[in-house]
Symmetry: C2
Subunit: 343 residues, 2 copies
DNA sequence: CCGGCTGGATGAAACGTTTTAGGCGCTATA
DNA sequence: TATAGCGCCTAAAACGTTTCATCCAGCCGG
């Protein structure tokens, strides 16, 4: 069943090839009777438009890509769902690419997307700082919107949550609870979110300046497994040096820490308080419900996609925008000394 | 910065257009000196291959699509990761589409994918039974592999886990624990997995025939929120009719039930035992660690992708295969009466 | 009856590749 | 010395759309 093309449809309906194209793209410019005949030919032959040819002619595709750090992280899946909504409303298609926190994979994906002449790219880059791959896209006229990442650059839009503030909220809360030896768990620090959440925490601690100390433990990725490993190291410390609270760069790490800590027979939050980040759906359902810094995940994705579509539509006249949302601390049992004995 | 094309590169390097194409696709057939000159022209002009044109000429693309029921479900994200591995090894690209358990969206995606002439489709269909959309793809010669879904049809490959057996394992376990009023929570039943897990549970109960009863409560989707709602209904029953155990069609529902049940001040498993399905990463980390029927998620995705690539490569000579994996019950505290008082 | 307009259809060009048939100059072989 | 073969390259066709300039028939107003 070779795919019928527009020419065969034309022959079948006894019209010219241009007319078929008009039926497909500007149905109102063709006489009802003719239109009818063409439509019948289309269904009869099982004709399906060839998008490659269409794109070739148009010079760009109707798909928009989103490149995330980790498809398995519920934070990003929610962002994707938000973006999906906006993209679908615009009649475009969203493809999801996974960099897996790996620069090389990210680059491969971007190269492929450039070859495909995608209409735009939403991305949470693996590294901050200079991003030659992204600049290449922009040079070519492909709009790029940074997701969950503020941009100093004026060359692109961005949608972010104030991670420094988020770090502050978490740290202030832990200090309020009386903790004086606190650890920050996350990594790699080349991921901007990791660095900024830390910066916020460190700043909050500095300002209070009441002799509390912040120990930083770097993880190799933002996963549950990495969290478990980091917790092992922490627990290996002698009790008097061991932190009484940890602030984790995301909820997956926090869940890993929680698992490891309770597996070793210690109690959360009595022996070790935990605060996560993202407030993913599973945070509240954890063995000890997890305190976490909440971000408007779906809204982040939706807004990013809207900015992108706007830029793609308006072309040269577009002015780049930088949207910043405020995070919000959700306190649950994992860090609440008052409530530690409630069931 | 208009995108340079192969013709400009040719002119720049002082060769013909065909030679540039050869440098790109069969570098060894062109003299080293010429090749060098062409490569220089390419980098100088910032040439990037136009994939639409390439595809148009080739007749098909190098991308493979996977259509899942819910991108936010950790089960599917793991399947995606498995598929990704295999696809990337083959130098192709995987695009992830989300049907959201919605037939109409599924159809739209498939139509779009057909227009794009994708090389193949991995899919967990929303409905079982006849699937005209899929048949259309197959007619057109696009290979389709069913994921997490056995196929009676001989017209396509499939990769599945024995869901009937999974249902049996869960039910046998609950009966062993002494439960006699048991509920099955899941839906919609048009999703094959939901129906088969139920069938297995019902069969196991029939065979034991010791007067236990199975109440079925249908949910509208397989999400945490749906689980919470279903649990509300269950808890509204008078105590003597209320089931003492629930078997959930997936872990998200089970987590929802767990949340609702504990929020109402009841104890798991003492007042209500829970068994989930999928054994996602968060099941073991739940407030009460969740018993669950484990599936080889990444392997499922990887195998499906391999079958697809194999079919795409071998063309007519391909024989469809149906791979079935065995599930495995993982017992944790949520359903273990013996252990209910352990910390 | 003529000129202009309009709704509807046509034909060809263009998009950027890949592929195929062929050409040219050279070397090795008979 | 003729010739076959080989290495390297070229020119042109083909893939299936969309778009644009044209064309044609009919109609209306003058």
């Amino acid at each position: 069943m070779a795919a019928a093309n527009i020419k065969e449809v034309a022959r079948h309906a006894g019209v010219s090839l241009g007319t078929v194209s008009n039926v497909l793209n500007r149905p109102d410019t063709v006489a009802p009777a003719t239109r009818q005949r063409v439509l019948e030919a289309i269904t009869e032959l099982g004709y399906v438009r060839n998008d490659s040819a269409r794109q070739l002619r148009a010079g760009q595709s109707r798909t928009i890509a989103i490149v995330v750090l980790d498809v398995a992280n519920p934070f990003f899946t929610d962002v994707v769902r938000g973006a999906e909504q906006a993209v679908e409303e615009a009649g475009a298609m969203l493809v999801v690419c996974n960099s897996g926190e790996d620069s090389a994979r990210e680059r491969r994906h971007l190269d492929l997307l450039e070859e495909q002449r995608v209409r735009g790219v939403l991305i949470t880059p693996v590294r901050h700082g200079s991003q030659p791959n992204l600049d290449k896209l922009i040079d070519r006229g492909i709009p790029v919107v940074l997701v969950d990442r503020g941009s100093g650059r004026a060359s692109r839009c961005s949608v972010a949550v104030d991670d420094v503030l988020g770090g502050r909220l978490a740290m202030d809360h832990l200090l309020d609870q009386g903790h004086r030896r606190i650890a920050y768990l996350g990594g790699p620090f080349s991921i901007a979110q990791v660095a900024e959440r830390h910066a916020g925490a460190a700043a909050a601690l500095d300002e209070r300046g009441d002799g509390a100390e912040l120990r930083v433990a770097t993880t190799t990725s933002l996963t549950v497994a990495a969290g478990r490993r980091a917790a092992e190291d922490l627990l290996a410390l002698p009790a008097r040096q061991r932190p009484t609270a940890v602030f984790c760069a995301n909820d997956l790490i926090a869940l890993g820490v929680l698992q490891e800590v309770t597996a070793r027979g210690m109690r959360v939050p009595a022996d070790m308080a935990i605060v996560g980040y993202d407030d993913i759906e599973f945070a509240g359902a954890a063995a000890v419900p997890l305190s976490s810094v909440r971000q408007p995940r779906e809204q982040l994705g939706r807004t990013a996609a809207q900015l992108l579509l706007e830029e793609a539509a308006s072309g040269e006249t577009h002015r780049h925008r930088h949207v910043v949302f405020q995070p919000e601390l959700v306190v649950r049992r994992s860090s609440d000394q008052q409530r530690r004995n409630r069931r």
